[in-house]
Symmetry: C3
Subunit: 343 residues, 3 copies
């Protein structure tokens, strides 16, 4: 394993496999049947220069479930950075306080620059339009876990990725990770102007995967194993793109009708969240809530074991955890969500 | 016990009694003579969509004193909620990270809506003009504890509630809890337009309590056991109300002169805090600081054992705590406040 | 030891020496070779009414490394203080929740006022232009530790303090601490209008130290043991001062050329951080990064053992820590920063 986790590009297939195996072993803790304290005394610096509830709390909780303590920091552009402090200085200073650092920052490349100054493990929690490797790992882990449950194999599977494939860093990172594995069939569907960047399509194709691109969800896709939907991120649009997109209607909304027409009982639907649940939103529809094929909450739940695995691996404690697990003694519900079903 | 604590309405008298008994058993920990680690490994999501130092830190500290870890979140309207995420999604996602969730939100009913999506215990930390059940429980606990100290009984006691009884959710919840007990005499004093809502008065009266309403503190009340004061919350006023209230002078300020005229040595004075201590404020006067009848800081201290009891009961660990208490080994002052007196 | 740590003025030389000795014994924990849990169950209230990443995280991490839990609060002027709550009330309320309180506030004297209401230990984390005693202690600790490494003695050493010596509270506190020790030679260099306050110069001189004041770094200083640089804090300038300062060029920037001309191989360069690393900034230059004489990151690292020592001493657990230290089991890099050198 490298010192930092900045991009999925730096991960070999063996390293990815190792992380997924460790994540799998974290499941009893993530499911709150077991407790470990292996990182007791360690401190995480959870540095969010950009608002994020989900990712921040997920990293925080994962570190706590390993026994560590967390120093959260949000929006600190108003503090020392505003006084002209460099990323180099901030990084080196935080390294004296913390055993690991998670950082989210709106500027692409900033987390890598931060990591250059330190020997303390740094995890990229999202750098603007750049990378968000822990999300890609939990997405891959979700596909692997769901396929295992369904008795499917990854090789030869058919994945549909839809939405804003241009700005969606999660699909960029996921597709790179998937490309390390046996040949897949990948169908990309996005409105004109929001297509997956060409070099990514070429990279995946060059690794032996079959990639198709379409402009509408109203097509014949054949059998689908995974439908991965993303939000149209209007806040990242240029003015020009906003105008051209005004004509696009509800065509990119995945809903129950879409599943009825295109999917089987074993298709799973994913989304990196948050999804826009307001009426008329061009996003994954709420009419799928309660459908067992909707895997979005199992997916977000997987953030805990995967981020535990990242911490455990970077900090070299993955072999210590199982030796010290204790039983949880407090009340844990059978399912976390009221609409969850035992599958 | 129900899964969630959303409103005092859902609590039976037996459940309230149980919570108060558990709170009483938490006292050695809250007083920092003992330590427990029964929730070691558990994670609290402390979600504050609205600023609150006191309540947020109180819940946080109570969970820590049970051994758990806390993920604090403040003002996250700027994050995923702003992107159109539903309370349903936020709730289900947080449920995968946390063992219990405290939530404060400016919109009445929002915490209940949030709780509908999850099987993880949710505690209402205040939903706008709605409910704030942990405050009502700590108020009741304070009355019970002070009465025990003074050798008084709740049945037949005379309570004066004054201030903004229309908008004050703490007095609404408290009066509902009190109404479960033996008949009381309750005097309500508020300026015109800020009276206790009629249906609440009717409810309490229908349960056998003697309720009187007055418009001035300059009356003959007879013996008073409790004077519960509240701040005039001008930030919740309509324009019309602001105008009509402009004529009201200092008549609703409880101060030393009021106590000298209307109270005995065993009357206690309460307030949900914060109080406005600026000169001319229409609030509980600082000239009572140091008077042993001023129970406001004992009241806020009681937030710790009561919130510990809420967590312990919802998470089903209330019987484990005493078996594992250890002695505190660090310096603990005899009294927390310089003006506290050993009573 | 007193109950609170509000100012270096309240510390005797014996108390300072005790704190430095305890800090020294915290080094194995700060260096992450050892873990202690002596404050397990204790809660720190880390109250920052003013933004500060560095100081806030440093106190937070130090308390965590002693085994305690931390409730962070930032910018809560928007909460109860905005509703007219007094420092007295805030202090007394927080005292019921927390075992120790760190407070930063923009108003000079506010932390002392806060501390007057409570018997719980309060540490001044900076009160505007007032005091910041933990910074002064870690600065002194750094000088002592570096001198020990270099085989030097404090008595007779020559220190150069430069930058904004008028507004820089860290140099005010440091110079007071240093004045408790054997006679030093202290050279103060600042632009006109930003000189060290006269009563401080007089105090130090009256204690037997040799103090010289200059207006330019382009002088012959003789041998220098310590160069302590500070940022020109323009945000604290009056309009008049801003104008007069407009003519001052890069004369107050300590850089490699300055070290080549004025310093030896055993001179150390310090800075309270953050430093302004933007091009043209009138601050310590980045061309010194990687130079072993640049002690600024060793200095900030020292914040952990010194703040651990402050907590341990105020809470009376300094004799318990070594009895219970365990080995760290996670990955710890040989040096925290990539440019650090083993000295």
């Amino acid at each position: 394993m490298t010192t930092h986790l900045l991009s999925v590009d730096s991960l070999s297939k063996d390293q990815v496999d190792h992380l997924l195996r460790v994540a799998s072993r974290m499941e009893p803790i993530a499911a709150r049947r077991k407790v470990t304290r292996v990182l007791e005394g360690a401190v995480l610096g959870n540095l969010f220069f950009e608002a994020s509830t989900r990712t921040r709390v997920s990293f925080n909780a994962a570190f706590c479930r390993l026994g560590g303590s967390v120093c959260d920091t949000t929006g600190f552009t108003f503090s020392s950075m505003a006084k002209g402090e460099s990323l180099y200085d901030t990084s080196r200073v935080m390294s004296g306080y913390c055993d690991a650092i998670v950082m989210r920052h709106p500027d692409q490349g900033s987390v890598a620059e931060f990591a250059e100054a330190t020997n303390v493990p740094v995890i990229n929690g999202g750098d603007g339009p750049g990378e968000h490797p822990s999300q890609a790992l939990l997405d891959l882990y979700t596909i692997d876990k769901e396929f295992t449950r369904l008795g499917k194999h990854l090789g030869g599977a058919h994945l549909l990725l839809t939405g804003d494939l241009k700005h969606g860093r999660t699909v960029h990172s996921l597709i790179k990770l998937l490309s390390l594995y046996e040949p897949l069939r990948i169908t990309l569907v996005s409105p004109p102007g929001l297509e997956m960047p060409g070099q990514l399509v070429d990279l995946v194709a060059s690794r032996g995967h079959r990639v198709e691109q379409r402009e509408s969800l109203d097509s014949d896709f054949g059998d689908l194993d995974v439908v991965y939907t993303t939000r149209i991120q209007k806040e990242r649009f240029t003015d020009e793109l906003s105008e051209s997109f005004a004509g696009v209607s509800q065509d990119f909304r995945v809903d129950r009708a879409f599943l009825d027409n295109h999917c089987s009982a074993t298709t799973i639907v994913m989304h990196p969240l948050p999804r826009d649940s307001r009426p008329g939103a061009n996003d994954l529809n709420v009419d799928l809530n309660g459908d067992p094929r909707l895997a979005i909450f199992r997916q977000t739940d997987n953030g805990i074991p995967v981020r535990m695995a990242i911490f455990a691996t970077l900090l070299g404690v993955e072999e210590l955890i199982e030796k010290e697990m204790r039983d949880v003694r407090w009340f844990v519900p059978e399912t976390f969500g009221v609409d969850d079903r035992q599958l």
